[in-house]
């Protein structure tokens, strides 16, 4: 492919920045042809050694280096027009050290031996300065060096190698489908991320990784001018740790919702056009759907929806840094303290088996090694309803009497310091065969919710409120029409203890989140949550309709 074919889009191409309010990525705008270039591993090793040696010479007892090249592309459209195509690249290195038993960090975009050494010396200087007010020395879990190793995401088609024209055509065709099916407005977006990360440490690891993420999404709005009402429906896609192959729909990846619901979920490929048509029809139907009667309902939650509830009420409260108080001023702490865990109270019912991992193919969390050079793994968080472990990194393991990191350390870029982030946190499917229709057949008065929507949870992760994209009444074992104005409010422990059944493996799929925020200054990370459709009994549902003047 020649350069013009790559960036050209039958006259459409890169770079227009008409709407300053559009989301922007980190990094500098670049010519998309730069995405096809790479940095030689031997060069990265030499540069890393310069930093590690400088750190040691300055007095560091431990040092690690991350040389990162972060590539982003976003294609933004609305209705019949391209709004923006953003291509950005950010390249630099971060050096983290321990000196006088204290962390220090410095970053530089001068990726030369001199620039890296200078950053290393600055990191040591900062560590020494901070050590004067430090009370406890950093204690790292032991970590063997892996030598020179590499890991590549198992993608089939690098999204950055796909001509922008194809992406624009897909998004405009998506918009056309929505408009044909009654949408008043539609915005569609395709985000693509490639992290080319090199890690080296004084433990003797030199790790080169190539990580890809993709996120196609849209929002459809139907406006009824006569009544003044408007309703929206967002895409039921998930961001994935995949290449462009996610956008080639396959029949085996489509999972039909319950009979009578007009819901389709997606596994490892996504039919954007089909979903856009369905979204427009559903947004229209929502305008006249019955407003829910508040009360207790049995909820049947699809994986796209449940992923967000898992994220907020299990993934976050089990981050060990939150548990210990490191996030008290912003993201908050956790009810699941070490003392609470010691009491052995049930987190959930016996159906609740929740596993953390950084391995599942196609998930956003999947990497070979984390950002402090620890090989990734899978571990149980909740076993048959009982809390058995937390999410932790090297400087936290000793606090819970362990001597091994879980491999979930991450930084959003070379210029931010790495810290503990949420791995994939997934609900294991039920072992017995159970379809969604079979599950619903046993519900007398309930609501089926598909898609994640509004969400809010307190700073210790007790009280949460969740909306959704589409809601269907369940009456006497059958879907009985669409509902609107639905949100459920619940307490984390009550909710997971009301878990009555989980559908089997055939229904299992991911919900993903591209921009999970934590830390000050805030850093973003991407994470997936796998689950099968799950039933929760007797959950408090409120009606969210209000009247304004």
């Amino acid at each position: 492919m020649n350069r013009r074919d790559f960036v050209g889009v039958t006259g459409l191409a890169a770079g227009a920045l008409w709407l300053p309010s559009l989301p922007s990525f980190g990094g500098n705008p670049v010519d998309p042809a730069r995405f096809l270039e790479g940095v030689d591993v031997a060069v990265k090793k030499r540069l890393s050694d310069a930093a590690l040696n400088a750190a040691k010479s300055a007095g560091a007892t431990y040092a690690d280096v991350r040389i990162g090249r972060y590539l982003n592309q976003g294609v933004f459209t609305r209705e019949k027009q391209v709004q923006n195509i953003v291509n950005s690249e950010s390249y630099g290195a971060g050096v983290r050290v321990i000196a006088n038993g204290t962390w220090g960090f410095a970053a530089t975009n001068q990726v030369t031996e001199a620039g890296m050494a200078k950053a290393a010396q600055l990191a040591v200087q900062i560590a020494k300065a901070n050590s004067k007010v430090q009370k406890e020395q950093v204690k790292l879990a032991p970590q063997k060096g892996y030598g020179e190793v590499s890991w590549k995401a198992p993608i089939k088609q690098n999204a950055f190698e796909v001509p922008i024209k194809d992406k624009v055509d897909l998004l405009l065709a998506t918009n056309a489908k929505a408009l044909e099916n009654g949408a008043s407005f539609v915005n569609s977006v395709l985000f693509q991320v490639n992290e080319q990360k090199y890690f080296a440490s004084t433990d003797g690891s030199y790790i080169d990784q190539d990580i890809h993420r993709i996120y196609p999404t849209f929002g459809v709005t139907v406006v009824d001018r006569a009544s003044g009402k408007f309703r929206s429906r967002q895409a039921l896609s998930s961001p994935m740790g995949m290449g462009y192959e996610y956008l080639t729909p396959k029949a085996e990846d489509k999972v039909a919702g319950p009979q009578g619901s007009d819901v389709v979920g997606y596994k490892y490929s996504y039919d954007m056009l089909e979903d856009a048509a369905r979204a427009a029809r559903q947004a229209k139907e929502k305008i006249t759907a019955k407003s829910v009667t508040p009360g207790k309902y049995d909820l049947v939650l699809d994986p796209h929806h449940l992923g967000l509830t898992i994220h907020e009420s299990v993934g976050h409260p089990l981050e060990l840094d939150r548990v210990l108080g490191y996030e008290a001023n912003y993201a908050g702490t956790s009810f699941a303290t070490l003392e609470w865990k010691a009491k052995g109270q049930p987190y959930g019912s016996k159906h609740v088996n929740i596993v953390a991992d950084k391995l599942q193919p196609g998930s956003l969390g999947a990497v070979g090694y984390d950002d402090e050079g620890v090989k990734t793994k899978e571990w149980m968080l909740i076993d048959q309803g009982k809390l058995v472990d937390y999410e932790k990194i090297r400087d936290q393991a000793h606090i819970v009497g362990q001597n091994e990191s879980d491999g979930c350390c991450y930084s959003q870029s070379w210029q931010d310091v790495q810290f503990q982030r949420m791995p994939n946190v997934s609900l294991r499917p039920g072992k017995e065969k159970l379809s969604v229709d079979q599950m619903i057949a046993g519900v007398d008065k309930g609501i089926y919710i598909a898609g994640n929507g509004s969400f809010s949870i307190d700073q210790q992760r007790y009280n949460s409120q969740f909306g959704g994209q589409v809601f269907y009444a369940i009456e006497k074992g059958k879907i009985a029409g669409m509902l609107e104005d639905v949100a459920y409010q619940t307490n984390t422990l009550e909710f997971w203890n009301s878990c009555a059944a989980v559908c089997d493996q055939s229904d299992y799929r991911f919900a993903g989140f591209f921009n999970d925020g934590k830390g000050q200054p805030s850093q973003s990370s991407a994470v997936s949550h796998g689950s099968s459709t799950t039933r929760f009994n007797g959950v408090n549902v409120i009606n969210t309709a209000r009247k304004i003047g």
Binding site: G8, A14, G15, Q81, A226, N463, Q465, N540
Partner: protein
């Protein structure tokens, strides 16, 4: 390097424009220097710094545009940056929403947007301030987590149509959460300034510490509709969504005209000119206000001037893109930076004295939209929630989840206090009747 003078900045921008072969070209320089310190468990946990100047060049051929950036300023780099912008522009799509670059503009002066004291901050200053805060918590046997972030810099702009802009800006923000060691009490305080000389970490820590100690062993009240006193930090947050920011963020003319806003009118059009709030509600913006001095030009070069958004409860103006203003034939008003809600003279303490029964709310958190049609939001109280009886704080209460719309809230206004700065805005404490708490939270 980070804070270039007007002469230095415009010299670089003139050179950039001299390299341009495009129909139109606009160059923007953005420089900042600053740093941050984060603490938790009464110890510094992380710290960082930034010192950078970035150039953004936008080149246009007809209705096609391209953008490129760089952060080195030798002639070769500048020339290359301009060439890259032009190359991208030649291949770019024609924008159906193209608007020509603006010509020369007149901007207000806003000298208080920059303070030398903020630009002069050193790592030692940050450590001293945060150290004093941690020491106070150690003395009181309380545990704190805090964040101090400062920056000083400039924005300069110049284009081929003759537009020229330059302004220096600085800012410091601090927030602290103080908790009791037994985990039953939590308090919060936050402040932000242009001028760091106004900042005193120990004073803010004392406020958070008092709230933490006073909020131990909270009692549960039934959820329902309550009279509340919302402190300014409960109405606007530095880093999170908030009820008043949500309202200000919804004053977009295009969304209203397109029928997808609470300001859309049944049958078409928007509700500008209608009285939608209590007549004591007046909100305006003024980038020259000495307490919240801000940039006097927007990102696209439009002048930011004093602008009334809501006056005596009536929606007076909506902001818009230049394209939509032209298409809809409406005033071309950019979205403001900070804004000011007019208030009275009463402090939060005065509002408490005048309250028979009510709830004092220090902070609202995890605020998320529930229904854009009514601007309904949900979220929770946090870090200091107290029951008021007969004009006095009676006891701490457990936290609540709320489901409330700022539109309904500003119609249920009982009293307005004296505005204070929060998140770059001036916000008064508000006493609101029938604020809707829908459930209890066990969180502290």
């Amino acid at each position: 390097m980070a804070i270039l003078s007007q002469t230095e900045a415009q010299a670089i921008l003139k050179k950039v424009l001299s390299f341009s072969k495009a129909d139109e070209c606009e160059a923007t320089l953005n420089g900042q220097t600053g740093g941050n310190v984060r603490s938790a468990r009464n110890a510094i946990s992380t710290s960082g710094g930034i010192d950078n100047v970035a150039l953004t060049v936008e080149s246009r051929f007809g209705k096609r545009s391209g953008v490129a950036t760089c952060n080195q300023f030798d002639d070769a780099t500048l020339r290359n940056c301009v060439q890259r912008a032009e190359e991208i522009a030649r291949l770019a799509p024609e924008s159906p929403e193209y608007m020509p670059l603006l010509g020369p503009q007149k901007y207000l002066a806003s000298p208080q947007s920059f303070a030398k004291a903020t630009a002069d901050i050193t790592p030692d200053y940050r450590a001293t301030q945060v150290g004093a805060s941690m020491k106070l918590c150690d003395e009181k046997k309380l545990t704190s987590a805090a964040f101090l972030n400062d920056s000083a810099g400039f924005v300069a702009k110049r284009n081929s149509k003759g537009l020229e802009a330059y302004q220096q800006v600085s800012g410091l923000e601090f927030s602290i959460t103080v908790r009791t060691p037994d985990g039953t009490g939590s308090g919060y305080a936050t402040a932000d300034y242009n001028d760091a000389s106004k900042f005193d970490a120990r004073r803010l820590t004392q406020i958070a510490a008092d709230k933490a100690a006073g909020s131990r062993n909270a009692q549960a009240l039934e959820p329902g509709k309550y009279t509340v006193i919302l402190e300014p930090a409960a109405l606007v947050a530095n880093t999170d969504a908030s009820l008043l920011a949500a309202l200000m963020g919804a004053l977009d003319a295009r969304n209203a005209d397109e029928g997808r806003s609470f300001l859309s009118k049944k049958g078409g059009g928007n509700r500008k000119g209608e009285k939608l709030f209590d007549e004591r509600v007046t909100i305006y913006s003024d980038p020259t206000h000495p307490e919240i001095a801000d940039l006097t030009f927007s990102g696209d070069g439009r002048p930011q001037q004093k602008m009334t958004w809501i006056e005596k409860g009536v929606v007076k103006n909506l902001y818009t893109s230049r394209y939509w203003a032209q298409k809809a034939g409406i005033p071309d008003i950019p979205r403001p930076g900070g804004w000011i809600m007019e208030g009275g003279t009463q402090s939060t303490a005065d509002l408490i004295k005048g309250t028979q029964r009510g709830i004092l709310v220090t902070r609202l958190w995890y605020i998320r939209p529930v229904d854009p049609q009514t601007l309904l939001y949900t979220g929770l109280t946090r870090d200091g929630t107290f029951y008021i009886e007969n004009g006095k704080i009676k006891h701490p209460v457990k936290n609540f989840r709320f489901n409330e719309s700022p539109i309904i809230m500003l119609n249920n206004l009982e009293a307005i206090g004296k505005p204070v700065r929060v998140g770059g805005n001036l916000v008064p404490p508000l006493k609101i009747r029938d604020f809707t708490f829908t459930s209890l939270s066990d969180a502290v």
